[in-house]
Symmetry: C2
Subunit: 591 residues, 2 copies
Amino acid sequence: MLLEHIASPRDVKALDATALPQLCDEVRRAILENAAAVGGHLAPNLGVVELTVALHRVFDSPRDKIIFDVSHQSYAHKVLTGRAAAFTDPAHYGEVSGFSNPHESEHDFFSMGHTSTSISLACGLAKARDLAGERYDVVAVIGDGSLSGGLAFEGLDNAAVLNSGIVIVVNDNDQSIAENHGGIYGCLARLRTSGGTASNNIFRAMGFDYRYLEEGNDVDSLVEALEALRGIDHPVVLHVHTTKGAGYDPAERAPEVWHHVGSFDIESGRKHTLISGDVPEGTYADITGAHLLEAMKRDPRVVGVTAGMPYVMGFTQERRAQAGQQFVDVGIAEEHAVTFITSLAAAGASPVFGVYGAFLQRSYDELWHDLCLNCAPATILDIGASVFGASAETHLNYFDLAMLGSLPNLRVFAPTCVEEYLLMLDWSLGQRELPVVIRVPGTKPVSRPDLVADFTDAPDFSKPAYRVVKHGQDVAVLALGDFFELGERVVAALAEHGIQATLVNPRFASEFDEELISSLPDRHRVVVTLEDGVLAGGWGEKIARRLSDRDVRVRCYGIDNHFHDRFDPRKLLEQNGVTVEGIVRDITSLL
Amino acid sequence: MLLEHIASPRDVKALDATALPQLCDEVRRAILENAAAVGGHLAPNLGVVELTVALHRVFDSPRDKIIFDVSHQSYAHKVLTGRAAAFTDPAHYGEVSGFSNPHESEHDFFSMGHTSTSISLACGLAKARDLAGERYDVVAVIGDGSLSGGLAFEGLDNAAVLNSGIVIVVNDNDQSIAENHGGIYGCLARLRTSGGTASNNIFRAMGFDYRYLEEGNDVDSLVEALEALRGIDHPVVLHVHTTKGAGYDPAERAPEVWHHVGSFDIESGRKHTLISGDVPEGTYADITGAHLLEAMKRDPRVVGVTAGMPYVMGFTQERRAQAGQQFVDVGIAEEHAVTFITSLAAAGASPVFGVYGAFLQRSYDELWHDLCLNCAPATILDIGASVFGASAETHLNYFDLAMLGSLPNLRVFAPTCVEEYLLMLDWSLGQRELPVVIRVPGTKPVSRPDLVADFTDAPDFSKPAYRVVKHGQDVAVLALGDFFELGERVVAALAEHGIQATLVNPRFASEFDEELISSLPDRHRVVVTLEDGVLAGGWGEKIARRLSDRDVRVRCYGIDNHFHDRFDPRKLLEQNGVTVEGIVRDITSLL
């Protein structure tokens, strides 16, 4: 095993050139076996094994700076920079994160997990280098769908006029997460098929020196191409054609499905757990996809919109085929998605944009300036927004309510169960008044017809009205969305202490049932708010402010606003005092 | 006067073709005279007079949809769509807003004032049209610096693959607000000088049909070029070369200075009030520019960064020349700016990005995922953030605290006066620990050495510590930033009622002096928070939450989160109960 002797990039440089292909094989095998055991971003990483080996062969990290866009394709980089054990030794699996992380290694310059940032980051490094009068190379590796993000373009636009050395490696695997969408991918395709010679080259158009390498999974060719870029004094794009999933047949054949995987059997390719592109039956994704497809059949103006992740809203390839023109994948371009649904809605269509909360935040200005200012009746499904959603610090999905809560004209729903969710979705599709965000629970779907039993006809959500599920006294528990169940448990535990608490399902997360809130002090001495999100700027604080000059004590429960990484959600809640026992203890001490 | 007979675009169509140049002259004169009297976006609008007349001659608004990017160049459009009186009759000046507005006219489809949205909006209109099986033309008019914004690229990327008719008019006046920056402008320049024939055409690269028109201020040529695009069935870019400020000599010669003007004398070109590009002496902009330039001279790693608006941070052309490599204009690309300063700071530089709050919000994800997650010691000057800042609904600058308040690792300062501001700025430039936002007051600079008298040496802002300016009892007034002066007046008025209130200058707007806050109930029965921003999700609510389970009443003062348009700030404050009298009345009733 060569890998045993690779403790740092220096060891890659020390190898005989003829040994590089073997090193690539070993790195690939390590990535594959690790992913088979514990899951991960398989296909993107398999595609860049040779590129990464070549980068570390040629450049001198950490003096030279190599930035992997999104950093979900930095596994080979991790293997070569002293972290091989986390991939080769089951006892150390899970010791490194799935993204680049400066706390792990001096070869990782940034914590990052969103696409399209690498070129801007590289520009800053290059500029800082020049101001300090230092000399080293700065390399951004971008691709795998990241180029469609607006930030990547802003970065390109500025890198082109940097007047200094900067290397941008375009890792072109002809695949985004799902499929590539957008004009730039047509341009890349024409460059690929012409061996880089097609006219109307977008990189040359912007002023870059441009090179093309067809053999993107051949380490010797890569080394040669990169050698030519060492110490370069101007902005250059090296366009490399790689194969996503390279070296593992199932992943090469179905890179979308193998983009991010759970555990699987290497020989058979049989998955043990969820694989991206899968939409398991009975999940909120599946329920959403099925429900929207029916809505589309009834109304040709219902349109599903995704930014490169159709499966998070249940749109499998099959459902996309059925939806036809009524489903649009705009590629990784969340800003465009929000402005696009704004005008779709303004022109009479009923668009539904499904997106993780962590990515919806890329559209803050479009939410404010386009969607909300124009009060366009579009629907956004804010998916996985929960401490039980993603647990990578780069992908925290529970800052959404704090982000959305001050936007004017916006209605944010927080459903407690499947039935309530679908009623809210249907109401939103049927109305022409205002933009709606539905916070699709990040927890497992629960069926609770009793929670919508107050609706005899089609529900009217045109005014914010909280539902009092249980009338009590002394204590009122306002339990939002998927934390309603926590509220039920708190109320049950209080009953054991002889306290008959009031339990409220607020349903609305950005507007307030002012009458109900204002009446709470009449019969209650303590009000508790529960939300599955950050406290700072969140929902509970808005209740606290409304009652803080009244004769009642309010205690808000939620999460502290730190970048928690790879946490156990139960433990995080415990740390924040969000447990039934803790809450009941607090309440009894406040009474 | 032809203009007297133009009540709608229909009347433009009814004119004899030979009359169009005269119509253009009259429209131009109206815009010029109106701007001379009341100010406005002069140069951009003068450049598109012929283009706008031609668009309304050829297309059939409002059936056909014409979207003017940013919409600050839609004055001619307003003149031609029934709103001429607002430009020609002094009695009606000010009756229309400076941006497109659906409440004004059926020819305005969206309220908008941020750049780079038009192509995405056009995509949605075109898609809605296709889904409904309707037929009309959709035209986006973009240029004047808007193309460098990432959203414009995401829009282009998607428009190119729309598989349907969409017209994108690139209004190329070779000028952003200040200057054009970025690779795309090099591409446009090469296309201009080659009459549209240069190889490596970025629009063709993305798959657009592309046409070029050199005579962008010749109405006949424009009519001819646009006629060819009526009913087109695929995505097309019409690249038009216009002259910013066309027809008014001073504006043609100095389009940056004449981008947005106050009143002026037409004959002499003498300005009566502020003109964009000016940095009047003694303003916060001027103080900032002068101070940063000194810091740059002392330390070669201090870098000023702007996104197309150098003068908002006091960087006149002169100061930019003096700063040299230490000042970077990234063009209209706020997302890039934030990611760029992240890596600049990470690599040892001390970047300072000056930006209006309304545009900082375009970088929400970059603030969260790049700057804050990586805890990069960069400084952002959040300029004009106040109800006394911009009063157009598109440019409201007082949502910033609500946006910033939940971001982890971020230190937000709210200085009360010039002295405090500069101490905070210096502290930020000297530290390597965390990202800093300084909320530069939107009000007139005040000098108050007494407010920093507690600092004998260089101040240490490493821990959030509020300053108690006056120790009292019963009532505590926490008055943030530029509202400190309001707090002083409230405390003085309370004294007249025999109440000796405590007055606190919090200084920190996103972190909390927990000890001080927690001790407030010991000597006070009422706590009041004052902030120059929206209440929902803002700063005061965070205080309210901290005290809502304590024996004290808290009342928060700030602004409601609505899109107020063209308001009088005093009246808006009054409507929100933010007056000395109102606050004192509330307090006495709470005691």
